[in-house]
């Protein structure tokens, strides 16, 4: 937990800004991770002599990591609910092989009239996506059943799943790589199509950037209007301005990068898939009853149960959702490589889990956000990419990644030890002892006085 020592007025601005990253409890921590991401980008930009933020490289980072980030979106929900999913790589591989075989079959079976080849591609790709989601959902229902209704720990269920679906992939595919037609590459390797007059920018990407910019401004305006209409406490105007400007600057810069790449490139399609998923699942986790219940189950399932949360249903949902997203990640990766093989998705689960924990989720559940996990995933992605640009060998890259994960989580653990203030708040107010803050609420989460007056067991036994 991030502790906010200062009274509301003093720290209001920063707190409000940090709300961009979800709830106030985990907001500041993610603020810190975002800072770490920016720092890493700047460091590599300097070390590589400007190669890191080269448009071609940025596009490449998105394309090469989209699948991990998609998995991280599902994984963070699993981890918030207090579980883990080790099977995502195998599930993706299982989905892949079925999709690939189906696409090959359809490609020979479906015959479109001359000149309609494009339409054929679109139809087959759509069928493939629906199929992937359906198989993912079926696999997820299987795993969710064991976790939620039988009560087998997710670690075991998904460890079994890891073996089962890896084996199934190799059984179905005869352990040999299978390829798909070129048109299948659009989802994983395509770009926003260009059109209109040539300004030296990709027009499609420009329009997308503009839409994003307007959306950010509109969203903030709508929020302020609603706040004033029901008389809720509003953050000061400057906070909104800073917030919108900061996000705007990022969007404009990103738009510039993505629209000025090599001719024929622009914002990649997997990036669009990712953005849509991030928006969708951020909304789900922050603004819906289901999302709230996921946090409740992970935070304290006893309390959740006594508040009327249907725990089994929540556990089933997160496991099923994860496998569905694994199926989608699988299709994206097949589409990029135009093939599926027996080794697809090996180690993906570890990348996704690392992203989630670097992104500030708690091992014991109840804490984490979609945005945080994406930032965590980007930290790994940029690190990977930067080290490769610096010609660091893969063995060393692995060592560095491992250490980054360890240190990121260790910092978090240390900062929370004994309920003390987090490192972040220490940086913000050096030497400040938050417990002395008389303006704040009475701070004593584990008062021994309570213990003394309740000597006996408090749960029925």
């Amino acid at each position: 937990m991030t502790v906010t020592p200062a009274p509301a007025k003093k720290s209001g601005g920063i707190r409000d800004l940090s709300k961009m990253f979800g709830g106030s409890q985990s907001g500041l921590r993610q603020f810190g991770i975002l800072g770490a991401l920016v720092l890493i980008i700047v460091i590599f930009e300097i070390l590589t002599g400007g190669k890191t933020l080269d448009p071609g490289n940025v596009i490449n980072i998105v394309r090469a990591n989209a699948y991990v980030l998609i998995l991280a979106i599902g994984m963070v929900q699993v981890i918030i609910a207090g579980h883990i999913d080790l099977s995502v790589g195998s599930v993706a591989a299982f989905v892949n092989i079925i999709v690939v075989i189906t696409v090959r079959q359809l490609n020979t079976v479906i015959v479109f009239p001359e000149g309609q080849e494009n339409l054929k591609g679109i139809v087959i790709v759509l069928i493939a996506i629906v199929l992937a989601l359906a198989i993912g959902a079926a696999v997820g229902a299987w795993q969710g059943f064991w976790v939620a209704y039988v009560g087998v720990p997710a670690f075991i269920v998904t460890l079994a799943g890891m073996l089962i679906f890896r084996g199934a992939n190799q059984f179905i595919g005869n352990s040999t790589p299978q390829t798909v037609p070129d048109y299948f590459g659009f989802i994983g390797g395509g770009y926003i199509p260009d059109f209109g007059p040539d300004f030296g920018f990709s027009n499609g990407t420009l329009i997308l950037g503009l839409i994003a910019l307007l959306a950010v401004v509109f969203q903030e305006w709508r929020l302020r209007r609603r706040q004033s209409s029901i008389g809720a406490a509003m953050s000061p105007l400057w906070v909104s301005v800073v917030k919108v400007s900061a996000m705007g600057a990022v969007i404009i810069f990103a738009t510039y990068l993505f629209s000025t790449g090599r001719v024929g490139t622009s914002f990649p399609v997997p990036g669009i898939v990712l953005v849509i998923l991030v928006l969708l699942y951020s909304f789900l986790t922050n603004n819906t009853i289901m999302g709230r219940h996921i946090y409740a189950v992970g935070g304290n399932w006893h309390a959740a149960e006594l508040s009327g949360v249907k725990i089994k249903r929540v556990n089933f949902f997160v496991m099923m959702n994860m496998s569905m997203l694994a199926g989608l990640a699988g299709v994206v990766s097949v589409s990029r490589s135009l093939a599926s093989g027996p080794g697809d998705g090996t180690g993906w689960e570890l990348d996704a889990i690392a992203a989630v924990f670097i992104g500030g989720a708690a091992v014991s559940g109840g804490i984490g956000t979609v945005i945080g996990s994406i930032i965590g995933g980007l930290v790994i992605a940029v690190l990977n990419n930067g080290l490769q640009l610096l010609h660091v060998s893969t063995d060393q890259v692995q060592i560095i990644k491992g250490l980054v994960l360890l240190i990121a989580v260790a910092l978090d653990v240390l900062s929370k030890r004994n309920g003390g203030p987090s490192l972040l708040s220490r940086f913000r107010r050096p030497g400040g002892d938050f417990a002395d803050d008389s303006n704040g609420p009475a701070v004593n989460p584990t008062s021994p006085a309570e213990e003394s007056s309740r000597p006996q067991s408090t749960t029925p036994n």
């Binding site: 819906t288 709230r292 006594l306 006085a449 003394s452 006996q456």
Partner: protein, 516 residues
């Protein structure tokens, strides 16, 4: 008795927690070879005193001195007190279920031969110790396959192995049936013959009367008196008088019963089985009623089955329902799960705020709306966060939750304010029947009074309130009518005008219905 040597003397023990004096100048003198009981209401400071004695609260965290076997001792941890021959047996047993009796007895104290555990010696030792406590089971039996009574005996065997001189038993018979209890009491008496001094904390006054040589009574963290059972001719009524003889302060809201309406909630023949021990019934044929605008108190000692009754009513969240029906507003209703209970207008504020009442990772506003999210959501399940904020802020004002904003984490609130958040959470569900289980446990006096006011206010608005409490003054001060529970059975029903602490205590400690 008077000229027997003293084994333990605790002088002027004062132990303070932030904001609370748990013990104030407590004196305790225990003679060698006696059975000394400590009595007092919940929260009187009995367990705290024993934790001071056994080093759980190390020297320096309390003031006063402890003279043990003639010299002053300063225990820094429980290991040092054990080494001195003081063993404490807690109500929650400290045995490892997956290990055998032998392994548990010698855990941390294993006999070794050339650096390896000498299992032959351990086995022989275990057989010997089990014989001393009168347990016939095979020492290789796993702890988990023993009943609680036998486990208790294993604990004592473990203490005997450490050459115990002073044995402290905290509520040793609370979880035992009558046969096991009697066996344990006999054992304690037998140990006395072999020179083991015992200090026993118990709520069961008949047992205390039966085996004690002396009794020290604590109340509100102070020593009230020490009684010599044989010389003073002590009986249960005498002990009760010492325990409850406090002057009621005027800290309860006025109420005259004028707001009380008709019976709207009725429970008939409610019988519930323990979730893991099927032969044990935690509620036995219970019948009770609640009227609109009425505060109905449930008095009972810890373990009497109050919480179990309440939770089983609240969507069967505890135990297995054997029989019984609930009649609400004239209609029989079924409440198979918590969701159904909430929909029918029931609310349950748990006695264990941190484990069962709150998600401590949540912030205040999320906690307040968490039991009825549908109230601030669209039909499709999208939460209106601004509405949430506004609603939470209203409760903050109404219940005077001390926090700068409702965005604050609940873990940063004091106990009293956390409890207000829990109350707000259940008020938000618009309950017709609000069950409050020890709502003022572990919170300071000021906050207690505020919570009493909230309870009366809710009743005045027409809700029915069930108030479960271990504190008799609280029940007498807030309730309109009181039921007593003993061993899962409702033993008495008293209008507030007829209720006295003595009479309640009597009905809380026995099944007999006769008045004191």
């Amino acid at each position: 008795m008077a000229n027997e040597p003293t084994i333990l003397e605790m002088r002027s023990i004062t132990k303070e927690f932030p904001g609370v004096k748990a013990l104030e100048n407590v004196n305790l003198t225990v003679k060698a070879g006696e059975i000394h009981s400590i009595c007092g209401e919940n929260g009187a400071g009995k367990s705290t005193l024993m934790k001071v004695l056994s080093g759980v609260y190390p020297y320096g965290s309390y003031t006063g001195e402890i003279i043990y076997q003639g010299s002053e001792v300063r225990f820094r941890d429980i290991g040092q007190s054990e080494a001195a021959g003081i063993a404490i047996i807690h109500q929650e047993l400290a045995l490892i279920p997956e290990l055998s009796i032998t392994e548990n007895i010698f855990l941390g104290n294993e006999p070794t031969k050339f650096g390896a555990i000498d299992w032959v010696a351990a086995h022989r030792g275990a057989v010997d110790l089990l014989a001393r406590v009168g347990l016939n089971d095979d020492p290789d039996t796993k702890i988990k396959s023993l009943g609680v009574g036998k486990q208790q005996l294993v604990e004592i065997a473990k203490a005997l192995n450490k050459n115990v001189k002073l044995l402290i038993l905290d509520e040793p018979t609370a979880a035992l049936n009558e046969g096991d209890s009697q066996h344990l009491l006999d054992l304690i008496t037998g140990l006395k013959g072999r020179g083991v001094t015992s200090i026993m904390i118990s709520h069961k006054l008949n047992e205390i009367e039966q085996i004690s040589d002396s009794i020290t009574i604590l109340r509100d963290g102070r020593t009230i008196e020490t009684l010599d059972v044989k010389a003073d001719g002590v009986d249960e009524n005498r002990i009760i008088k010492g325990m409850v003889g406090r002057v009621l302060e005027n800290r309860y809201p006025e109420h005259d019963g004028s707001a009380i309406g008709d019976v709207f909630f009725e429970v008939r023949n409610w019988t519930v089985r323990h979730p893991t021990v099927p032969e044990r019934l935690v509620a036995k044929n219970s019948n009770f009623t609640v009227r609109r605008g009425e505060v109905v108190g449930f008095a009972g000692l810890m373990g009497a089955g109050r919480t179990e009754l309440a939770m089983s009513l609240f969507g069967q969240s505890y135990g297995t329902l054997v029989s019984g029906e609930i009649i609400m507003n004239g209609e029989p209703i079924r409440l198979p799960n918590v969701t159904a209970a909430i929909e029918h207008g029931l609310a349950y504020v748990s006695e264990d705020r941190k484990a069962l009442g709150l998600n401590l990772l949540d912030d205040i506003k999320d906690s307040i709306v968490s039991a009825k999210l549908t109230k601030i959501s669209t039909k499709r399940g999208v939460i209106d966060k601004l509405k949430e904020h506004v609603v939470a802020d209203e409760y903050r004002g109404e219940l005077r939750i001390k926090t700068p904003t409702v965005d604050e984490g609940v873990n940063k609130l004091s106990g009293g304010n956390q409890q207000k958040v829990v109350l707000a959470k259940w008020m938000f569900t618009d309950p017709e029947l609000l069950i409050l289980d020890e709502p003022t446990r572990g919170i300071d006096v000021g906050a207690k009074t505020e919570i009493y006011n909230i309870i009366r206010e809710l009743a005045a608005r027409g809700a029915g309130i069930v108030l479960i409490s271990s504190e008799l003054p609280e029940l007498l001060g807030v309730a309109d009518r009181i039921y007593t529970i003993f061993e899962g059975r409702i033993t008495d029903e008293l209008l507030i005008s007829d209720a006295t602490p003595e009479r309640l205590m009597k009905s809380m400690t026995s099944t007999k219905k006769d008045a004191a």
